[in-house]
Subunit: 322 residues, 2 copies
């Protein structure tokens, strides 16, 4: 234990990309005294033990939460209700129970009824991730300079919310608090709609008769490949998100459809002015995101560019040329 | 001149991201004896001279092409016709005339009538770029491992096509030949539709009443920020592309709309199976793109992740802690 230690014992239920990143970051930062982890599949539990990112790996959710003063459920949102029901009776009095789900209204609705009144329920959503899944995909820096949104239900003890906020700050995140309803609307546009559109266009491109899959792959650097990254995200997680945040996603889809209809009409009419004005406006949004440090200013996301072929090698390597 | 020199004198008309990257790469590779460049705006001409990426900067298109055995027009596709008309009378007999436009049918239609029969017209499209524009944005490695598509009209001398292919190979590109019509269909799906969708969703997000722009920017790491990169591309270039490739873009938009309607219905009906199956299929496309080297396997496009706060610094830097 160090002076930074906020919790004696953290239980992680689910150790995928997010859970394993929390474990790594919390350990590095000395944020918790010890980490107990569990996962549904024996393979994941075995792998977590091999990786050494938890102090203890147990077989059941009930065993994981016993004696823990921080419990974080890191599983697809559709599974949160049943897991809350399972752990409810075993939670230590005064424990903080949290999650990392991308939808908050459904998580509050599904988990709250199963949690005893002597624990603090503070739902959370770290807005961070990659297109990879599983315990090997996590890394300690995942949350640095990303936002973590807390959505404590009305009546939550403010000191519990503050303690969880301190935990996420220690992991490098910026913390913001809002209502579950507002969270779900904001994330519908900044995350759920983009994923749905990416999943759609990647499917569209794969089903064409007059353009082959090989051509789609080869010429993907024209823009398409950017969409394939998020369309490679975990299918179970995303199925659950769209089912759980149906209303907000449908609302955003409706607005998107109106806007794409307007641009389609401009293309059909050869209305270059409308297109030019729209394309000029959207540049400003990118600049704003880069300015606040939520994306890199490096061209092309900083993707590596290999060197030119047969170019004379720089001094340090020239000897290798034989 | 080196043994690699393919052309004595290359004229570049337009020196933005693509033109300046060609200049840099051709010079580094010794692909051409000398480079003469011109641009419409005096600012760009001055900047190109300052950068030293051309051997000579001239004020008019006519002056640029005189005596050049390779002429590459690197301007928005909507301007290609008028420029062809301007340079036609000044082209050297036997010169190869090419371009870099993202639409090929319209370029062939607009340029061909103005080119004399004693030059070789070999339209080209290097499928490469970044979200930045202008002569400073270019770099010599831009085309390495990217595809360059040549669309020689029927009757083009095969040796001219081969010579231009050799030029692009020397710049690091893979070269493929196809008809202008097929090119425009392929690029409609791998580049034009993705850009249109990105431009749309970024506009949609910016016009919401119930979510602020500040929230959109802050929580953009949930997926939205990926779209803002290509929605920051040059507005003039993209206006011209959509006007020039209207038919193929409308065709692809129709298919995209059918597919998004099907997924919308699945969300509305809570049909998790349909969503899960779709999301599983699209993962394979990403893997294919990474396998053929058209994107990086690094998580999150290899975006940098800053270190954790207050973490002990590694040895080489520890002395700076003071």
């Amino acid at each position: 234990m160090t002076s930074k230690t906020l919790f004696n014992r953290m239980a992680l239920i689910g150790v995928g990309l997010i859970g394993s990143s929390i474990a790594r970051a919390a350990k590095l930062q000395g944020a918790v005294g010890s980490i107990v982890a569990t996962a549904r599949s024996p393979e994941t539990r075995r792998r977590v033990a091999e990786l050494g990112i938890a102090d203890q790996v147990v077989e059941s959710n009930a065993a994981a939460v016993e004696g823990a003063d921080l419990v974080i459920v890191c599983i697809p949102v559709g599974a949160c209700g049943p897991v809350a029901q399972e752990i409810g009776p075993y939670l230590a009095p005064g424990a903080i129970v949290s999650d990392v789900g991308s939808v908050k209204g459904s998580v509050v609705r599904d988990m709250s009824p199963h949690l005893p009144s002597n624990v603090h329920f503070v739902p959370a959503h770290p807005v961070a991730g990659t297109e990879y899944s599983g315990p090997d995909a996590g890394f300690a820096e995942l949350f640095v300079n990303r936002w973590c949104i807390l959505t404590p239900p009305e009546g939550t003890d403010p000191s519990a919310t503050e303690k969880l906020a301190a935990f996420w700050s220690l992991l490098g995140a910026n913390v913001e608090t809002m209502s579950p309803e507002h969270h779900d609307l904001v994330l519908a546009v900044t995350s759920h709609l983009p994923h749905l559109i990416a999943y759609t266009i990647v499917g569209t491109a794969d089903e064409l008769q007059n353009v082959t899959r090989s051509e789609v792959l080869k010429f993907s650097a024209g823009g398409f490949r950017d969409f394939t990254r998020i369309a490679a995200s975990d299918p179970t997680m995303w199925r659950d998100i769209f089912v759980a945040n149906k209303d907000a996603v449908l609302e955003m889809l409706g607005r998107f459809n109106e806007d794409i209809s307007a641009l389609t009409r401009a293309i059909r009419n050869g209305d270059g002015n409308t297109l030019f004005e729209h394309f000029t406006r959207t540049r400003a949004i990118r600049r704003g995101i880069v300015q606040i440090g939520q994306d890199s200013p490096a061209p092309d996301f900083g993707r590596p560019h290999p060197g030119l072929p047969h170019t004379p090698l720089p001094k340090p390597y020239a000897a290798d040329e034989g």
